[in-house]
């Protein structure tokens, strides 16, 4: 089969648009804490996980010990292990391209996991733009400050949510039993808001359990 000629997956554009103001705000917040400009940039290059990066800034600001801060980042990012297992069991790639797991984020995972399993270059087409924009946004935020008008920052902020809605509608059309996973994931994440970084992980576990229990039942009922 010929390789696709487009170098950008269309789903990468809304993800990148949504990342830009968040990365910008992250760079700004780091500089506001009087951290050196290289600190947020290195975090964006090597950690590439928004929630844990903001948490790191908070921990630095409160003077938390390095070991405690590192452990907090690992706990917040624990969900990525679940995403990685879920994604790569479907993808079934050779060993070497599995290094692309380093570009797996919540958003690229969701976009790449709904629909047919992508091949490595298809995932690359989806993942390179959000990663580049995440770093570029951090650099701009930490070096240039509030140049991007707030109206644009806020309007771009909704692009990821619109992408999620579009992906959800598409997923439900393909597999109606996915509604149980989505509802359980949303409900538990909402209830678990007070526990902060754990809410997403708990929502994912609850949604997966709902798929195991209710999704299986729905599929059996749907059979003639």
């Amino acid at each position: 089969m010929p390789r696709p000629t487009r170098i950008i997956d269309p789903r990468a554009v809304p993800i990148a648009l949504g990342y830009l103001p968040v990365a910008f705000a992250f760079g700004l917040a780091a500089v506001a804490l009087h951290a050196p400009a290289w600190f947020p940039i290195l975090l964006s290059v090597f950690v590439y996980a928004g929630a844990s990066q903001f948490a790191t800034l908070h921990l630095v600001a409160t003077g938390a010990p390095v070991v405690a801060s590192v452990l907090a980042v690992w706990l917040i990012n624990l969900r990525m292990a679940l995403e990685s297992v879920s994604f790569f069991r479907r993808a079934n790639w050779p060993q070497r391209p599995r290094a692309l797991a380093l570009w797996l984020t919540d958003e690229t995972f969701v976009a790449a996991s709904l629909g047919p399993a992508p091949r490595p270059w298809e995932f690359l087409r989806l993942a390179w733009l959000p990663y580049t924009v995440w770093i570029a946004g951090t650099v701009l935020g930490s070096l240039l400050g509030g140049i991007l008008p707030s109206l644009l920052r806020n309007a771009f902020g909704i692009s990821i949510d619109a992408l999620f809605v579009a992906l959800l509608v598409s997923a439900l059309r393909q597999d109606p039993s996915a509604v149980w996973s989505a509802l359980a994931g949303a409900g538990v994440a909402l209830l678990a808001q007070p526990v902060g970084g754990w809410a997403l992980l708990l929502g994912m576990v609850a949604g997966a359990l709902a798929h195991l229990l209710l999704g299986a039942r729905t599929s059996k009922e749907a059979r003639p």
């Binding site: 290195l42 949510d161 809605v165 959800l168 996915a178 994931g185 994912m204």
Partner: protein
Amino acid sequence: MSGARLLLLVAGASAGTALLRYLPALFATRPAHPKLERLLQGVPAAALGALLVQSVPTALPAGHLLTVAAALSVAAVLSLRPGGVLLPVAAAVAIAAAGLFLHLP
């Protein structure tokens, strides 16, 4: 915090996060129990639902609930048609920008 400590923090955070992403990817090839397979198949839709409720309230500044609802509703309706995701997303961003510009609730 000193520069050396910040560097140590970056190194520890990035090494742990890389392992959390990469190690499961390496070992995900082994055959698993069918129930575990089914469990893992539910993760993407669950993540989608959880991400939506986490991010929508912060998508726009407080006081723009109707604008958010209108933008996401239009995105949902446009997603029903076959095609890519760019049109629903572009429409939602345009509605959000217009709502903010006009100070709509």
